[in-house]
Symmetry: C2
Subunit: 121 residues, 2 copies
């Protein structure tokens, strides 16, 4: 999906950027397998870029800048659907991945369970 800049601005104006550095929490979910892939932050500009280009953009808390997901790896995350939560401070992006979302090469960043941590104390 991608929508016009005017529409994106309307949607973006409805959210509550109450999290760190004026952001909402963004959850990426594989549109097909429904796997949760990663969690990040989006400021208003990242959200508008995401909605208008159809490619996930995030606000990097560590680098303190807008970050096109896949800008170095080429593993862009293409938005298929977009949802907003009840108090408008989190968004859910259903995506089609053009490569692993995780810098480790795993399809999802959530690739370890509690057993892993108990076996690797």
């Amino acid at each position: 999906m991608n929508i016009s800049i005017d529409e994106a601005k309307i949607v973006a104006s409805k959210l509550n950027y109450r999290h760190e550095r004026g952001t909402v929490i963004a959850v990426l979910q594989d549109a097909e397998t429904k796997e949760v892939l990663m969690v990040g932050n989006m400021d208003k500009e990242a959200l508008i870029l995401t909605l208008t280009t159809g490619l996930v953009h995030l606000w990097s808390l560590s680098r303190e800048r807008i970050w096109l997901k896949g800008e170095t790896s080429g593993h862009y995350q293409v938005v298929q659907d977009f949802k907003v939560d009840c108090d408008e401070d989190a968004v859910l992006l259903l995506v089609k991945s053009q490569g692993p979302v995780c810098h480790t090469g795993n399809h999802t960043c959530f690739y370890r369970n509690s057993k892993f941590f108990l076996e690797h104390k």
Copy 2:
């Protein structure tokens, strides 16, 4: 799932509580339908309570206290599986809901899309 207090403390010690008020981000996903249900925050104590009781506990940023999800509604969220992301600042909880997760009565907090906001300017 629920694990011993000693195991929970080991797992909890591995996480990076770098988000607001010393928390990790917690994503709740329906273990059966794979719907993403809500996003919240967990401090170390909430995480240990979640892992040992098998019921989702969160840190409420607005109320500034530990919050057993369902404590007033009775809609407890029973943990079936638990995952940690690559940089250990977010967790994913696969849950079986004992009632709607959202205070609006919807099964998921993510019940609105961009179209909703464009039709309700």
